[in-house]
């Protein structure tokens, strides 16, 4: 399975996400294509799926894999399920499947909730859909990048990771998370760094013979 098995836009988004990472075992394009195939086998009228994971501060990043851009009125049935609800690092992770036939996802909901040991009520059948058109691609990466960089700036200013996240989540000026992170980045340049115990140098990283 290759990138060609998914849309060009999605392939480009995943390429950007994976660029410079060496998690070679994580073949996201192939996994996305396999899940699309598995879903089509399970539910003939399936239109695609959305997988949402939560980054720092519960910031959502969503992978949409659909055959064609989906308007709300294209979707006759949907199923949203939480994944890993008890593990802190997967809290807020959800998958949503879409189909164009009413009731098409009922059997799948029953099987998946049983396999996940969830109560049937945990499966949200035909719940509210996003108001905007769903297109294949990765949504939320830009905000994720801004917030992650802002966390780095705040760490460099002397905060711990937890403190940095708290500062962004509850900014003094009442801004919401992303604008607050943008402010941090805007103000990052030109600041005078606090006097370090020793200046940071790239040579702080050990040479190969020191490892």
């Amino acid at each position: 399975m290759t990138f060609s098995a998914i849309s060009a836009v999605l392939a480009a988004d995943l390429h950007e996400l994976l660029s410079e990472l060496s998690v070679a075992q994580f073949d996201l394009p192939s996994s996305a294509a396999v899940l699309r195939r598995d879903l089509r086998l399970a539910v003939r009228s399936a239109l695609g799926f959305s997988l949402t994971v939560r980054g720092p501060l519960q910031l959502p990043v969503t992978l949409h894999v659909v055959d064609a851009p989906l308007h709300r009125d294209h979707v006759a049935s949907s199923l949203r399920l939480p994944l890993g609800p008890t593990a802190a690092d997967t809290a807020g992770t959800t998958v949503a499947f879409y189909a164009d036939r009413p009731g098409a996802l009922v059997d799948l909901a029953a099987d998946l909730t049983a396999a996940l040991r969830l109560p049937l009520t945990a499966a949200e059948l035909d719940g509210p859909l996003p108001t905007e058109v769903i297109s294949s691609g990765v949504v939320g990466l830009a905000d994720f990048t801004v917030v992650s960089r802002a966390v780095g700036v705040l760490i460099a200013q002397g905060l711990t990771v937890a403190e940095a996240r708290t500062a962004l989540a509850s900014p003094d000026d009442g801004h919401s998370l992303v604008p607050a992170a943008c402010d941090v980045l805007t103000n990052a340049r030109g600041s005078t760094p606090p006097s370090p115990t020793r200046p940071f140098r790239s040579t702080d990283l050990p040479s190969e013979d020191q490892q």
Partner: protein
């Protein structure tokens, strides 16, 4: 990086780049295998005369995963897939049920498999393709130690079981793939987050814009070809955290203090 802390081991409060995601990937495959074993064990009860049943998941002509109700089943399947010859593969290729009669007695289609199966005591095989929407996704393979064990009743029962099992196996596979994808995405974002935070550290410390900071990070990583970019980013972030702790401990006035609230 302080002298008393080994390189790359500095804790950073649940903010670490990951190379351990493969463990979760394996776990999702284990979950799928458990489901397939459960299907195989149910099949032993459902298919009269079977002493053991295997479930094979396929993608095209490639075997993705096998599971069995007993060890000898896995051995027989290993013979079959190792030789690339046997009733299961024929059933999958032709998309129809295949019952062998007594192996080695008038049944000559798979001579090498027959010899291998006989060495394990298996005398009869019935294979049922798992079909969904005209696509074969795998097979149910029933094995028996008795001669000519599978009659019409067994075949009818096997076909009915396979029709239901195809859905169960597909749903298990769909769930496993969903969990695999979310694991991969989560770990990818963790590494991406560490990299971007390191960019933020470098932006502040070096008075750099984001592109300059990213270039700097890449140049540092080039000095350490044995490490990936996320690992180098992790060192930079960890170093910043340690530095902040030292600064606070020594009450450097420039270091902002966290809000006690």
């Amino acid at each position: 990086m302080t002298q008393d802390q080994p390189f790359g081991s500095t804790p950073t409060e649940s903010f670490t780049h990951t190379s351990g995601g493969i463990t979760d990937v394996i776990a999702t495959r284990a979950t799928l295998r458990e489901s397939m074993v459960a299907v195989a064990r149910s099949a032993v009860s459902a298919i009269p005369a079977s002493d053991g049943v295997g479930v094979t998941l396929m993608a095209g002509s490639a075997v993705v995963m096998t599971a069995g109700s007993a060890d000898f089943v896995m051995d027989v399947d290993a013979v079959q897939y190792g030789l690339d010859e046997g009733p299961c593969l024929t059933a999958v290729a032709e998309g129809r049920t295949l019952s062998t009669g007594t192996l080695g007695r008038g049944e000559t289609r798979w001579p090498r498999f027959t010899a291998g199966a006989a060495a394990l005591g298996v005398r009869s095989v019935a294979s049922f393709p798992l079909v969904l929407h005209d696509e074969v996704i795998g097979s149910i393979n029933a094995y028996a130690f008795a001669d000519d064990a599978f009659d019409g009743v067994s075949v009818d029962a096997g076909e009915r079981f396979a029709a239901t099992a195809a859905i169960a196996v597909n749903h298990a596979q769909l769930l496993a793939t969903t969990e695999l994808l979310q694991t991969q995405l989560r770990h990818t974002l963790t590494d991406r987050g560490v990299i971007e935070s390191a960019v933020g550290v470098l932006m502040f410390r070096g008075d750099l814009d984001d592109a300059q900071a990213h270039d700097h990070l890449r140049r540092v990583a080039e000095l350490h070809p044995d490490l990936d970019l996320a690992a180098v980013a992790q060192v930079i972030v960890s170093d910043a955290v340690v530095w902040a702790g030292n600064a606070r401990q020594h009450n450097f006035p420039e270091a902002p203090q966290p809000d006690p609230e």
